[in-house]
Subunit: 238 residues, 2 copies
Amino acid sequence: MPEALQAGVQLALPAEEAAHVARVLRLGPGDRLRVFNGRGGEWLAQVETASKAAVTVTLLDAVPAARETRVRYTVALALLKGDGTDEAIRDVVMMGATAVRPFVAARSEVSLAAAARGHRHERWQRVAVSSAKQCGRAVVPEVGAPVTFADLLARPTDGVGMLLVEPSAGPGPVALADVAPPAAVTLAVGPEGGWTGDEVARAVEAGWMRVRLGGRTLRATSAPLAALAACQAVWRDE
Amino acid sequence: MPEALQAGVQLALPAEEAAHVARVLRLGPGDRLRVFNGRGGEWLAQVETASKAAVTVTLLDAVPAARETRVRYTVALALLKGDGTDEAIRDVVMMGATAVRPFVAARSEVSLAAAARGHRHERWQRVAVSSAKQCGRAVVPEVGAPVTFADLLARPTDGVGMLLVEPSAGPGPVALADVAPPAAVTLAVGPEGGWTGDEVARAVEAGWMRVRLGGRTLRATSAPLAALAACQAVWRDE
């Protein structure tokens, strides 16, 4: 959709959306629906013409979007087993993440090659769009193509780099509640088997901070959600 | 298992566990396993005798348990669709909940009768045991039988009663970050469709506090986990 939207503007829906509206939802002239462009706007719209090939709508009213966070959260997500990465992306998008950077950790059980074969990157982008829609966010976070851990460390991070470590990691890590609110944070969460000692050492050398969250070991799929909820509560980032 | 456990003590496993050890894990004399009594202890043990009917073990060493939280968290959980309640119980047990009180909210799509027919209470108790085991907690939280919302409000709560409300609830609710650390809290989380105005009014009348968490609407299955992570971070409860 073009960027300049206002009430009264007529638009043709993209082919895939048009097919969904005409064939699955079976909407016709006069029916109303919500349209969404992923870059800041959701609109209530009315169908003008609908065929299997094309649907045109008139925009009626802008739908107020869910508030975006004050802090920018990039979640660096170790690839998880099964649908774990999908689940984690859905959850962090719901929590307001501004970007997701999937990477392969030493103990990830999915390789870059397997992720590419399974077209995972495209799938994760769809998960992000659908989660943003569902929770009324007007902005769809960018999901990066998966990279190696070395590449993750080599690239500049947006804001403070924080590596989420388990409570068993012993002394050294900072409690999340002691971290002052940053303008932006890149929060790395490890895979099911946790970080290797080598990964932690390399991250520290690259300037990342180790942070801990609570006294219990969290499931890898839940840790990203728990960490964002904790950051936002501690930093009063509503 | 009896309460007084120490290294060297010999025990017979309960029949169901014995069958699992002998038939599924196929352990025999000399093999090691972990045993767990759900009331404060996990032990490394060695099999002495094993048949399909009975397994005896000798306790070797107590396994250090995951730390319990300082604050007692009772989670009052509205029944959710499908496996949602199971998922939420698994997550809050992982986060250290001390008790779970399932209830039927006005917008719950599962009734007390349906929950009873589906033997949900027994299932939730098994979910709690398995989640406690998996995250190394020595204590299994009690999961209550499901009750009505009226019964939930009529019974005394353990500690401060807090009703988690959506950001769209408008002014009135307190931000979680402004609540001082209590000794105990009972945190009620609503169903997929949210609370009705009547439910909120009745809870307030019964002395519950309305609290809000962040600026985005959370999925009903994720909200309990997010709320506990936020409480623990804000209250520095590790």
